[in-house]
């Protein structure tokens, strides 16, 4: 088989080709007139609010923003934003967004999905979107439960979880969404928390700026069917021990902070097996502590860090941007092929109508009469 070197197109920001707004915008302009219908206390409210207050800051024309969702509680999201939007069918939002993003360079495309939508019924579309690196941002609301169908276990639920469909405990080993995204060679992979507006907003800003598929897992509490699932990382007493904060260029430490060094009492370091392990900060020379490098082309370390997430009840989880690397996006390349072909053909052979006439009359033809 022949392969063609497509060259490396110039890498640009995620929103560069989207027209800018005429002037400053407010969160209110991005809020639709639809009544929000999540359960009281749902983490989705927090994310919605964060998105509504963050979008104006992007400075993009509202009409050039498209939110696409699948099915599930979180997938109601597009209705509440006064942008273009589609609430599609279960699991398929990434494929629909792929069509939108490929067809139109001038749109900022967002996918809102959940753990069931993205990882169960739509798992295939998720990994292929990441593989293709289509320019869009995927917000995966992970509440580790099926909410809209009233409380069955999800692909991120811990083993042994007792739910309506698993009275004797669930048997499925859960997905770690970040590991999965890194395995699919996602070019931007991050994790954040619904209730931490500051962190959530910072991650969204970075995700929007990234050209390619930005994957953001958002831990999101379901107060009805899986309440307190993320308490360890939210409770002010425990969170400094539970969250492993990832900051590019900083040593990765957590736990009780040392006032002078600013380092936590636990840290990550390379393990003998080639992975990453948790060590006592004090027991290591500072230079041996693992410094987070989100821009590392090789995703192995990011993957190893992602494996430190608890797969059972969440007592510990790395939070932040795991990986942020540049590689060509499918939609840019696809448009370039079309535009090149169109430009060359138009110059050489004229407009579409003339060329269609030529096409239809090509090959072996004969005249009658």
């Amino acid at each position: 088989m022949t392969t063609i070197d497509l060259g490396t197109p110039s890498l640009r920001s995620g929103t560069e080709s989207v027209p800018a707004a005429d002037g400053p915008q407010t969160g209110k302009e991005f809020t639709s007139d639809q009544e929000v219908r999540w359960c009281p206390g749902c983490g989705d409210y927090a994310v919605l609010k964060a998105v509504q207050s963050f979008l104006p800051g992007l400075g993009l024309r509202r009409e050039n923003i498209v939110f696409v969702s699948g099915i599930g509680c979180s997938s109601r999201f597009p209705y509440y934003l006064d942008t273009y939007g589609m609430h599609s069918i279960h699991g398929r939002a990434p494929s629909i967004a792929t069509g939108i993003a490929t067809a139109r360079e001038d749109l900022s495309v967002w996918v809102v999905t959940g753990d069931g939508d993205a990882l169960s019924i739509g798992g295939n579309h998720l990994i292929h979107a990441l593989r293709r690196n289509v320019n869009m941002t995927i917000l995966l609301f992970n509440n580790r439960i099926y909410g809209l169908t009233k409380g069955q276990y999800s692909p991120t639920s811990e083993v042994g979880k007792v739910t309506k469909s698993t009275p004797m405990g669930s048997l499925d080993h859960p997905f770690n969404p970040v590991s999965l995204a890194l395995g699919a060679e996602g070019s931007f992979v991050a994790r954040t928390i619904d209730s931490d507006r500051k962190h959530l907003t910072a991650v969204l800003e970075a995700a929007a700026a990234h050209r390619g598929t930005s994957f953001v897992e958002i831990y999101q509490n379901c107060p009805i069917f899986n309440d307190n699932a993320f308490d360890a990382i939210k409770d002010s007493e425990t969170k400094e021990h539970a969250i492993i904060p990832l900051v590019h260029g900083e040593p990765i430490t957590f736990g009780t902070r040392d006032e002078t060094t600013g380092l936590g009492d636990k840290a990550l370091a390379r393990s003998a097996g080639g992975g990453v392990e948790v060590v006592d900060t004090a027991a290591m020379p500072v230079e041996d502590l693992l410094v987070h490098d989100a821009h590392n082309e090789d995703p192995s370390t990011a993957f190893a860090i992602s494996r430190l997430t608890d797969s059972g009840y969440l007592n510990r989880s790395p939070i932040g941007i795991f990986r942020q690397v540049q590689r060509p996006t499918y939609d840019d390349l696809a448009r370039a092929q079309v535009n090149d072909a169109k430009t060359k053909a138009t110059q050489a052979e004229g407009n579409d109508t003339d060329r269609l006439t030529q096409l239809l009359n090509a090959g072996d033809t004969w005249n009658v009469g």
Binding site: W38, G41, G43, A46, S195, P223, S236
Partner: protein, 109 residues
């Protein structure tokens, strides 16, 4: 939009709402609790747990307590967005208009 805590909280401060708030945006003042309007995400978790029905969605605040929308907001004029009640302590202060109010709800001033 935001939820608003109104008069019936004054000198009650049950705090059930604080436990319920998923984003920790309900701050305790000296005589009442205040919702930080920029931090509130409109989720409505606080409203049904309040034993004295002090909490209303902004659009639904009864006319006679309408000023509490302003009072909640103004409480944070100097404080800004503290980013979570758990790490804050404003229990020594109130909005001046609240501070000036007579004892409410049978409490002793």
């Amino acid at each position: 939009m935001t939820y608003v805590i109104s008069a019936s909280c004054i000198d009650v401060k049950d705090r059930a709402c604080v436990d319920e708030c998923p984003v920790d945006c309900i701050y305790e003042g000296a005589r009442m609790l205040y919702i930080q309007p920029d931090e509130c995400v409109d989720c409505g978790a606080c409203e049904p747990v309040c034993p004295v029905e002090a909490i209303f969605f902004e659009d639904d605040v009864p006319e006679e307590t309408a000023r509490f929308t302003r009072l909640n907001a103004e409480f944070f004029d100097d404080l800004g967005s503290p980013g979570g009640a758990a790490n804050s302590n404003f229990a020594d202060r109130d909005h001046p208009e609240i501070a000036a109010m007579p004892a409410q709800n049978g409490a002793h001033a």
